[in-house]
């Protein structure tokens, strides 16, 4: 899809909702080097959300949507959970089908889009919570990695089932007392990043969403590697402040605490040699392009 496709027919322009008008006027479809810094100066691809006040998941959504290299040709696959409350407000195609089958849906979708549009890069991105990714959907998550399906899986890890009211999940910390773990969870947090690496992901990243530039870089890396090489996985800590007994203004502190040395979410990446080579070459290209643009600007000014 190009930006032309979202244009409004003149005769109907006055009845289109203002948020769509804004999308046509200032959204960043088709903009090269779009990123989190566009937030505030352009129309975001997320219109609203119905998450709790201060939920880190909402800011994660905004950073991710702002960081997609090619939203005009990106399709999201979600799953049941808090994320499914946000997708109806998002200006990219997205699929919610069932709970836990997101990587199965994405496998069929990615292959079909690759077959129908051989000359266009259609990015498929899965975005689901930890219950969907690790518990009910682990089979399909891992099998899509074994098959080396070329799409990105993002897990919003809030370490519990948030949407159903704070039940124990596989990504919960050991010892945490929650619904369905009345004596405290009695096994360790599942090491999903390591599982992803061993299962065939060419690029794996674990981090919080406290720093937008880091989120942007990781999302771009994951999508570029998925296009060229194979499956990629990003695990983002988006704490459920409601269920861990925090106030709505405390989400950022919670993330910062967890990413300090010794914390559960110190940023880490597993990158295959092939993926690293690709990312290096993209970095070089971007640098050269920006430099050339700067030179051109200087010449014009001179």
């Amino acid at each position: 899809m190009s930006k032309e496709k979202i244009q409004i027919c003149e005769d109907l322009a006055d009845i289109m909702p203002p948020e769509y008008q804004e999308l046509v006027a200032t959204a960043t479809f088709g903009k090269q080097d779009r990123g989190w810094k566009d937030i505030g100066s352009s129309k975001e691809l997320i219109e609203q959300h119905s998450l709790c006040a201060g939920c880190p998941e909402s800011i994660a959504f905004r950073y991710i949507l702002a960081s997609l290299p090619n939203p005009e040709d990106t399709v999201f696959v979600g799953s049941t959970g808090c994320t499914s409350l946000v997708f109806p407000h998002v200006a990219v195609h997205n699929i919610h089908s069932l709970f836990g089958n997101q990587n199965a849906i994405a496998s069929g979708l990615k292959r079909t889009l690759a077959s129908r549009f051989p000359d266009v890069e259609k990015d498929v991105v899965v975005l689901a919570g930890d219950g969907a990714t690790v518990d009910i959907g682990l089979d399909m998550t891992m099998q899509s990695w074994f098959r080396l399906e070329k799409f990105t899986t993002i897990c919003f890890d809030n370490e519990l089932y948030a949407n159903t009211g704070g039940q124990e999940s596989g990504l919960m910390q050991k010892g945490f007392v929650a619904k369905m773990a009345p004596k405290g969870k009695n096994f360790e947090k599942v090491r999903l990043a390591e599982i992803a690496r061993e299962a065939g992901c060419a690029y794996v990243a674990v981090l919080t969403v406290s720093k937008p530039n880091r989120v942007e870089q990781v999302i771009k890396n994951a999508i570029y590697v998925a296009r060229e090489i194979g499956p990629t996985f990003v695990q983002l800590y988006t704490p459920c402040i409601l269920e861990i007994g925090k106030q709505s203004m405390e989400g950022l502190d919670e993330m910062k605490d967890s990413e300090t040395i010794g914390g559960r979410f110190v940023q880490k990446e597993y990158i295959t040699e092939e993926a690293q080579k690709l990312l290096d070459s993209i970095k070089e290209e971007t640098k050269a392009r920006k430099k050339a643009a700067k030179e051109a600007k200087k010449t014009v000014n001179a």
Partner: protein, 412 residues
Amino acid sequence: MNKTVELTNKRIIASSHEKLGQKNRMDQTYTDVNDIFYKAEQTPSFLTGSEVIREAIKRASVGTSVAYPITPQSEAAALIGEIYAEGYLDEYFRGESEFAVMGQCAGAAFGGHRVFTTTAGPGTLRAMENFPMWAGARLPIQVCVTCRGINSPLSIQPDTLEMYYLLETGMLVWHAETAQDLFDFILKGFIVAEQPDVHIPIAVCCDGFFVTHTKDTVELPPLDLTLTPYDPYRNPQPVMDMETSPFRMMRDPFVMKSNYISYATHASWQQEIRSAVERSRKHTIPLLDGLIDEMNTDREILIVASGTAVSQSREAIRLLEEDGVKVGLVKIKTIRPFPTEEIKRVTKNAKHIFVPEFNVVGWLAREIKSIIPDNERVYEGPHVCGGMTLPCEVIVEQIKIHLGMETEKLRM
């Protein structure tokens, strides 16, 4: 609802696809389904049901097929893999379970492919959560169900109980009697299910082993003809390919709301899916020559059946005829939509209605009893289950016993 419409001689507009008449990479010509069946010369071939599925898919312009082994559909699913390797399909792979396979099929359909898969018995039940999702998402996927018993205890034998579970999924459910039916229903099923005013999934069911593993003569159209491809932009819903403008679907997700608008949305959507099933009649009647076949339905004794129970009934009727008992026959081809008006019409004068079936509950008899007046006329059976065969002599005996006639004792 269920008004009788005279459509027998009307040709449905099966395809106005721009590729009509063009050739695909296998040098097959995209052809209207009416021409494939009613104009092209048909050649008799002696094939197993599994091979018939392969032959149908060779002529179906399928985009994606996802496979998983389960008896008795494994051979058919593997044969589709072979024709994929020859170049007939765009995508084919093995999934990890029926639940995943049906999700992978959904992903491919959301992306705009014509999708075909096969399953059976426990696989159908493993996959079950997906079927209403397919219908609700208006995905015209075709699943061929080669019916077998449902565990436990472990069984791989033919049994049609799983069809009962499919009846309220919002899918079209057709029941093939023979290998010929299976071939015809697969190709015609795609066309009906993909009509913009239908656009819902279809289960083409056949009785496992009896149809899949036996050889039968099937009339095949030439291999250089194939169905016109699926056109995803005739979908009543946007295709998930970012080629149409993305839009904000709702101000608040309905799942969050306990209010009238939310309830009304869900209620109307569920009704719409059922309406789409009903709307499929006008495309199905001309293509299948009616939702039922009837033979001597003016008689006082009728057998109403679907699947291979129809074949057994034909033979039972021949045997009864030798003893001077005249029995009519109704073959039901589509279970969803259910041929309510047709059944009411053909059973109007019947005094005794027998419904032989291959399952323990007798679900077809229940369906018939629920729609006709004076339903004490319906005798639920004979039905067998767990892989038992249904010899025509058993049908003869049951009818004679019920009518108070003398009969040879079949049982020891």
